[in-house]
Symmetry: C2
Subunit: 651 residues, 2 copies
């Protein structure tokens, strides 16, 4: 069944042949119809050593971070970012384009290439979205393993996050019900008459300015009464707790809850909420860390609340940072999988792009760039439109990694452009209006404004770009030609017609050629610039993003946001980059404003911090961090076939 | 480093040598000091085929259920159950004895043997308990992998459980905010003019008595208005919902909560709670299922609430049973690990024994029994005392599996016996009173009553037994002799001194010999009998357990329990076995009654059902299904060493 082909450079990559069928079957049929390589074989083909991988079943493996040390003298490959226009709620095929592009680079152009994508949240998988492994003949396989559990990273993050949450409430409870002496006796047990401080407690003492040399030497010095009180009482102000519990399920009833209502908690109730795991700070930390040490530091620095004097309470103060790091140890390693054509993919981290920073991990990209080497290509994806995922890629992820992209691919569809031109509502589970299946040049022409604005935004970072037009069966030649001409005329950017969904890698051959061409320009990434300087004030940074990227006239900061900004400034957290939590369905804050909105003002309701991860996140309008289940969730179609263990109806 | 030795029968098992040191180091040092075999090598040694395992890292593998088909003609090995006396809160070394015993059977007696144990919950691991992989020189390695995430089973159960919970609340919300017509339109989309019922919806129609032949043939028949209403409205009575959300964290503030308080839920708030995952019905289903089909059926039959007419609402009615099965597909496969001496262990399922049925899985035991074959031994553990885990093993697990044990090992310690004799309080994190480190024959003699009662309980099932006295350094020869004499005199049961914690397998050699001797009696397990008949009424079954096993004078059923029992009777759920949710710290319902309590009456506050899993569970007194974190949780000591990724201070 397999045809072996050699990649021109050093990899001995065997490609999996695909035999495309029209009409294109459902994703899961295509996935289950392919025989993937054993993942150990793929790892060997791309020069990953046997002791550098941990298998998770037959088709997934985690790759050790030690590989970065082995490959440290390799030059990086070219770094290609895939982003998109403002999408319809159905999505416009960005992941599909990432996969199609690497399939083409590998199978058609014989370039070493790697795709880096995010792990999908199971919430939307069982809610509205279904799977998210690309689609058609450009997907990651086996798609059911990709979509369910994967190697357990999101579960690990959930567990670690909720341990911190439990630690916060339990600590408040114990402080409220015990004297300083009792707390001290329990927190620091005595062994042979000597107080046994744990390492994390020693660090806290040090941060409190209590001299720990004495402790190190003899371990038997006594703290003063006030020092004991300072040490044992975090004195958390319950109203300031920003650390929420998380769950990887679309559970709308957890959007606002009251906890502590059992008698055993002695009336210490409080209101709080669950967020979806992919919006959590720990998810961002996994995505942004450069190594294990970096991860540990970021975890320790997480601020979960303020104390009653207004100072920050960190994970280190809670004594839980070490346990969190231990729970996330394996999570920090990217997971290797393969495309339908047998080329390598890293799946790692899964922050949403509207309510989080929306990019796969720094470590996956870094390892992939070393593995493909100087002549190779790493294609990574930024979530939702270029106003969100790409802006955060440049201003947050590139700052964390020190990497800069060589070229940006912006994915567009005729369908979404028509919607932006004033076409009828597009909604999952509802029949598409005929405007989308019949030629309509008028809507299309108007809608190109959205694409043009995104292209301008890419230029704001001094990055070269190409438009990948993800073609549907119903798109007409006239429509495609129109988009091409408008965009070329107004922006000088090329629009490339792509059919990788229906044709696999060969449907993205022109795109791949164009990517190679743009990357071969000398120093293509040297001109890259950030949108804003970190030394600007928080409000200036937010205003810059809103005006330059969203096209707003201005920004209104609500009182709560102003107070929060003040707190960040007072506590030296104001030099961090900004991660806007904004709807992905419009360039503006209002999901109903399609096309290229103008003349609007962005409301900033709150400004919160993920200071451990390393950014502040303003809430733009009302944005929910917990999706819900629709009347008929995807799970209605999903079943397990007891005869053979096959998964039915996943997508 | 490795010494190869051959097991006398067919396995080519290589044993890992251990070099014991006194005083015995911490568990994690012993674990990290051993070089485990690659798990693929162990699998090969015990005749598991390469395509029958899925690796999860280097030292864990899931074993395919297909192996049961391949080995179906093998005879089963001997089936050894390890249980214990009523423990102190520190535990008396039951898991340690399971591991020590198989190490001895393999390494000392050259018998093929397998240990089957439960996966530990991460809640207690980070709370009070620390690790749970056995201990000292009798443990499962690598212990950090055993204790953290393992192969993700508990996480998968958490995710599946919480999907059902989200589906319940979302369904109520949508039913309360939509007309029958709107619900029908959304629940059953129309394609080309034909209503598309999913398989699960067809099954629901069938259960409602709506003729589905018409649908099967043409898929376009129209339901009557009342039929539509019956079909689209589950009409859940919110006050009857028994399905709680779960989390694998000791989070006391989730013991009672209010959900739905965001404006988006339009005032549909309700009180509910989180349980710890290991108490969940899905955990019980994983532990009790005989195959994938059995699992699916149990999931479909789960009753999550009543409708407003008092009828049961099942997972099938919610349309979510298939998705739950899909999420639990891999979870149904046992995880292979190894002991410190390199012998095989299955880790599978993790129900607590006080608030759940407390046994590892039917499937792990069944596969292990086939793998060791006629001359081999499978040692499986039942949680907490013989009043809880063992009773449930016999009356619930053996009923589900059809298996019966050959011999029961009951683990006792001098420490726990002294406590039962009136010794001072024993509490984690607190210094042990001197009664426990100095010879005290008086307390010990009195305390033997507890052990005697447990031995009598084992006799109630017509099972032969041996006492394994798990020896501590401070136990004196006089003390051990006293226990031996009392027990032999009053019960004719042998007490065997065991030092496997300090000495590994060879410390359990006498125990292993005795186990082999008892198992070699012809038809040892043929006399086994259940404690009660399933045809007895629910109250009779509960009374039988309370009187015969706990030694109670009688039972008081509170009004709520009486109503619940009535409901189960009316809906034909009264032929199920009983899973008592009772404190493990006393034979009675009152944790303060040590020794052999008499003259007490057991209060039954509620009787709930896990009818999918296949049992009813009475709540005995006030029993919490969610542990909490103490003032100084274990996590204070835990850190990740960034230099080498080593886990520090886990235990």
């Amino acid at each position: 069944m397999k045809v072996l082909q050699k990649i021109s450079q050093m990899w001995k990559l065997s490609l999996l042949p695909i035999c495309t069928v029209k009409p294109v079957p459902k994703d899961i049929f295509i996935s289950q119809g392919q025989v993937p390589k054993k993942i150990g074989k793929l790892a060997e083909e791309i020069d990953i050593f046997d002791d550098e991988i941990d298998l998770y079943g037959k088709y997934k493996a985690k790759v050790s971070l030690d590989i970065l040390d082995r490959l440290k003298d390799n030059k990086n490959g070219k770094y290609v970012l895939v982003t998109g226009i403002t999408p319809t709620p159905l999505g416009e095929g960005k992941s599909t384009t990432v996969v199609g592009l690497v399939q083409s680079l590998s199978a058609t152009l014989f370039k070493k290439s790697f795709a880096c994508i995010r792990q999908p949240s199971q919430g939307p998988t069982f809610g509205i979205k279904g799977g998210a492994a690309g689609g058609g003949y450009s997907q990651v396989i086996p798609m059911e393993e990709f979509n369910l559990h994967l190697t357990g990273d999101i579960h690990a993050i959930t567990a670690a996050n909720n341990l911190v949450a439990a630690a916060i409430d339990a600590r408040m409870f114990h402080e409220n019900t015990q004297s300083d002496e009792a707390l001290y006796r329990r927190l620091v047990p005595t062994k042979n008459g000597i107080k046994q401080f744990s390492n994390l407690q020693m660090r806290r003492l040090c941060n409190l300015g209590i001299n720990i040399n004495n402790i190190n030497e003899s371990n038997d010095f006594s703290l003063l009464k006030e020092q004991i009180s300072d040490f044992v009482r975090l004195d958390i102000d319950p109203g300031t707790i920003t650390w929420n519990r998380v769950i990887d399920t679309n559970d709308r009833f957890l959007r606002r809850i009251t906890v502590g209502q059992s008698d055993t908690e002695k009336g210490q109730i409080r209101e709080t909420q669950f967020d979806i795991t992919v919006a959590s700070e720990l998810m961002a930390i996994i995505a942004l860390s450069n190594d294990m040490y970096d991860m540990i530091t970021r975890i320790e620095n997480i601020v979960v609340a303020h104390n009653k004097r207004g100072g920050p309470i960190t994970c280190l103060d809670l004594g839980v940072s070490g346990a969190v790091a231990v729970l996330l140890k394996d999570c920090l390693m990217p997971t290797l999988m393969q495309t339908l054509e047998g080329t390598p993919v890293f799946v790692h981290a899964g922050p949403f792009a509207n309510i989080a920073h929306g990019n796969s991990s720094v470590l996956a990209d870094k390892i992939a760039l070393k593995l493909v080497g100087e002549d190779g290509y790493v294609v990574t994806e930024a979530g939702f439109g270029a106003d969100i995922g790409m802006e955060k890629f440049c201003d947050i992820k590139c700052r964390a990694s020190g990497l800069t992209p060589d070229v940006v691919v912006i994915v567009a569809t005729i369908r979404a452009l028509k919607m932006h031109g004033g076409g009828p509502n597009v909604s999952p589970g509802q029949r598409l209006a005929r405007e989308y299946s019949e030629e309509n040049l008028e809507l299309l022409e108007k809608g190109c404004d959205n694409l043009i604005k995104h292209i301008e935004n890419i230029s704001a970072f001094n990055l070269p770009c190409i438009v990948a037009l993800n073609v549907f069966d119903t798109d007409t030649a006239n429509e495609m030609e129109l988009v091409k001409n408008i965009i070329k005329c107004k922006t000088e950017v090329d629009v490339i017609k792509c059919t990788h969904w229906a044709d696999g890698g060969k449907g993205a051959e022109k795109l791949a050629n164009k990517v190679v061409e743009l990357c071969s320009c000398e120093n293509s990434s040297d001109n890259f610039k950030f949108l804003y300087d970190l030394d600007m004030s928080i409000t200036e940074k937010i205003e810059t993003i809103c005006k330059k990227i969203y096209g707003a006239d201005g920004v209104i900061f609500e009182e709560k946001a102003i107070q929060q900004i003040k707190w960040f400034e007072e506590h030296n957290y104001d030099k961090l980059p900004i991660c806007m939590a904004k709807t992905h369905l419009s360039l503006s804050h209002d999901k109903n404003l399609k096309g290229r909105p103008r003349g609007f003002t962005v409301p900033i309701c709150e400004v919160k911090g993920s200071v451990g991860a390393g950014f502040l996140y303003p809430l733009v309008g009302s944005i929910s961090k917990m999706p819900g289940l629709p009347t008929r969730p995807c799970f209605y179609d999903i079943e397990l076939d007891a005869k053979n263990g096959a998964i039915v109806g996943l997508f």
